[in-house]
Assembly symmetry: C2
Homo-oligomer: 127 residues x 2
């Protein structure tokens, strides 16, 4: 567990409290009162937080969500479910899924160091 810098902490706290994935400029808007004024300050913190696994980027949405797994060792093996109506995003933690994908080898026998999986469908509420 690494200590976060000032900007990283501010931005992580915000994302962590958010019930939904946050976009970079929404983050910027929210932290301006705390002195973070420029997009680059946000993107730098986001990059680092992603790198150390505290947050994940939902690629299909260009948005960021706090890691739900208390021990964030899964930053290299991420899976999410995304509701196509309400846009609710949930991190999937299924050991059988992660085991299957981590061990997946393609035709050429290539094994991968990292993956990101995004499932789409309708959540309970929206069905």
């Amino acid at each position: 567990m690494q200590t976060l810098s000032k900007n990283q902490q501010i931005i992580f706290d915000l994302i962590d409290k958010s019930p939904e994935p946050m976009k970079a400029y929404a983050i910027l808007f929210n932290v301006q009162k705390k002195g973070i004024k420029a997009p680059l300050q946000v993107y730098r913190a986001l990059d680092k937080l992603v790198e150390i696994g505290k947050i994940h980027k939902i690629e299909s949405r260009n948005a960021f969500i706090a890691c739900q797994n208390s021990s964030c060792q899964v930053s290299k093996a991420t899976a999410f479910s995304i509701c196509e109506i309400c846009e609710k995003v949930t991190e999937i933690s299924s050991s059988s899924l992660s085991k299957y994908l981590t061990n997946f080898k393609d035709k050429d026998g290539m094994k991968y160091s990292k993956y990101n999986l995004e499932f789409f469908g309708l959540c309970k509420k929206c069905r």
Copy 2:
């Protein structure tokens, strides 16, 4: 098999010939000599081509690749391998993988209508 409109055909042909995923503005640059002048014309064709499964979007790269499966019924179940050095992208067609993911149910028993999986690693050449 649906017939493509003029712009859709021009843009599909370009992507289909490309050995690597193409970004929207690279596509725009390449088709300007054929009379497609504006980003929107490109994005509209891309949207349609994605919708009908002729191309896929590589979300982590904001780039587009022609579908490699002759019958493009897998637009709702896509998997790619991405080399983190040379950026080579390959569409994975593994029936066991697609079977596993198509049938995957999360904790709440939720089944998904669609997924996109991106594996990252080093390709043969770059290892």
